[in-house]
Amino acid sequence: MNFPKMKSSPKKQIPALLILLGVTACSSLHEQPALDALSQIKDQAAATPFVEGYFEFVGPHAKWAGPSAWVIHIDAREGEFAKVKAQPPVAPESAPRSPAQAGARPQAPGVTVQAARAQLANLAAMMAPDRRPQSTLSEACLHPIRVRLIRQDGAVLDQIGCRSVTGWESQVSKATGFFMAPHGEG
């Protein structure tokens, strides 16, 4: 089978190859700005991590005799394990199953400080303004959730939302499950 001959010299091919190489390199770097933004978040989290958090499942006013408020406090400032305290505690002080359940925390192992900070950073990322839903005037809020996250440098991220299966509010429930659960060795 005869193919038509391609008339080209190496001199002519080199510029074309350079262009192709340039295009390839550019295509792999076109997401650079987005990655830069995420890198900034990463750097900020590493520089001044969230080291303390309060999750409050707000109850209705006492006069309605409804579900009581429940507060989870996470202290991941220092040490190997974070201190987790629930108020009211879910277990009597005399028979703790896990430190958080007893309302106090001297038992190890538990959630490592590193894991606790990662959990708080993840929640903070979900609470970013552009990821929050717009305010609506159609649904009464029966179960508010209040979150306060504190960075190592003292900066505070404070937010209130309404219990939901989507958005950062759902992450609060999941993070509570994480901190309250008994954790294995290490």
Partner: protein, 299 residues
């Protein structure tokens, strides 16, 4: 000779291009991995196997179906320890005749065993009864509420489903003894309960029925513009405006007062709810659509 050199140059170019592309791809992966590790990767919460939400229609066959489809042999299930055995009541449910916030806490949380078939079927039957009573409550008041709005309220009531605890979506509830009104990802009304609520249903049935009635009736959202006519006069009398009571993430006393009042009519808790006895509520309760002289006496 020239042709051979051209071929080699071509092969080299393809190789370089492939290397450049691969390098770029790897670089992106590495960046993503670093960011993910710093920001997004958190240990997964181990939840017990999720149970599908039970769709509750006011029909006994649903209850029978729930009992007939256990995920493991019935005998084994019956032998299992109940998850509510370790539940402990934190505080008191009433003080000097007044209802107080209290619930059964479950220390094991999601690690505990799911409810037994018996526990769940008992809870389902209480739920069905309360739902039927709410439907009756509506029908009895259709004259004051209006036929059209009664139909809408009945439709909303039918849409409510009860999720079997523990909830994988809301793991904090696994430690609690409350029942809450919420919505699933599609926006459909859903009740979720902590396993401690099953203990309440066993030990303080009257109070559990009241709490269920209150949670179910929260589907009659007083902030829904279509239902404004039903609760509007009462809300106005109480001095509550839509912005303060219905704005997203703002706690709504209006919603709690309406649902508590409805629950009081349908399934009285056996104690006085302080909010229904305060002076302002007493003044405004006759603005509630279903209020009649007899219901006023009940309050």
């Amino acid at each position: 000779m020239r042709r051979t050199r051209g071929i080699w140059i071509g092969v080299a170019a393809v190789g370089i291009m492939a290397l450049a592309g691969y390098g770029g791809w790897r670089w992106q992966l590495a960046q993503n991995a670093m960011v993910t590790a710093a920001v997004e990767t958190v240990p997964e919460v181990k939840s017990p196997e999720p149970e599908a939400a039970e769709v509750i229609a006011p029909a006994p066959e649903e209850l029978a179906k729930a009992e007939k489809t256990p995920s493991e042999p019935k005998k084994k299930k019956e032998e299992r320890r109940s998850m509510t055995e370790g539940a402990r009541l934190g505080g008191v449910l009433e003080r000097e005749g007044s209802c107080v916030s209290a619930e059964y806490w479950v220390a094991q949380g999601p690690q505990s065993t799911p409810p037994t078939a018996r526990e769940w079927s008992e809870a389902l039957s209480v739920y069905q009864e309360v739902k039927a009573q709410l439907a009756e409550f509506l029908r009895a008041r259709s004259a004051t509420v209006g036929v059209e709005k009664t139909a809408k309220l009945e439709k909303l009531l039918r849409e409510v489903r009860l999720d079997r605890p523990p909830s994988a979506e809301e793991p904090d509830l696994a430690y609690r003894g409350i029942v809450i009104f919420t919505r699933d990802e599609r926006g459909s009304p859903l009740l979720r309960m902590g396993p401690g609520f099953l203990k309440l249903a066993q030990s303080h049935t009257e109070r559990a029925r009241f709490e269920l009635a209150r949670a179910i009736s929260q589907v009659w959202n007083p902030c829904d513009p279509e239902l404004a006519g039903v609760w509007g006069k009462f809300s106005k009398c109480m001095g509550w405006d839509a912005v303060s009571q219905c704005e997203s993430a703002s706690y709504s006393d209006l919603a709690w007062s309406v649902s508590t009042w409805v629950a009081q009519q349908v399934a009285p808790p056996g104690c006085k709810v302080p909010g229904l006895n305060d002076a302002q509520f007493q003044v405004c309760s006759d603005r509630l659509p279903a209020s009649t002289p007899s219901t006023k006496e009940a309050i």
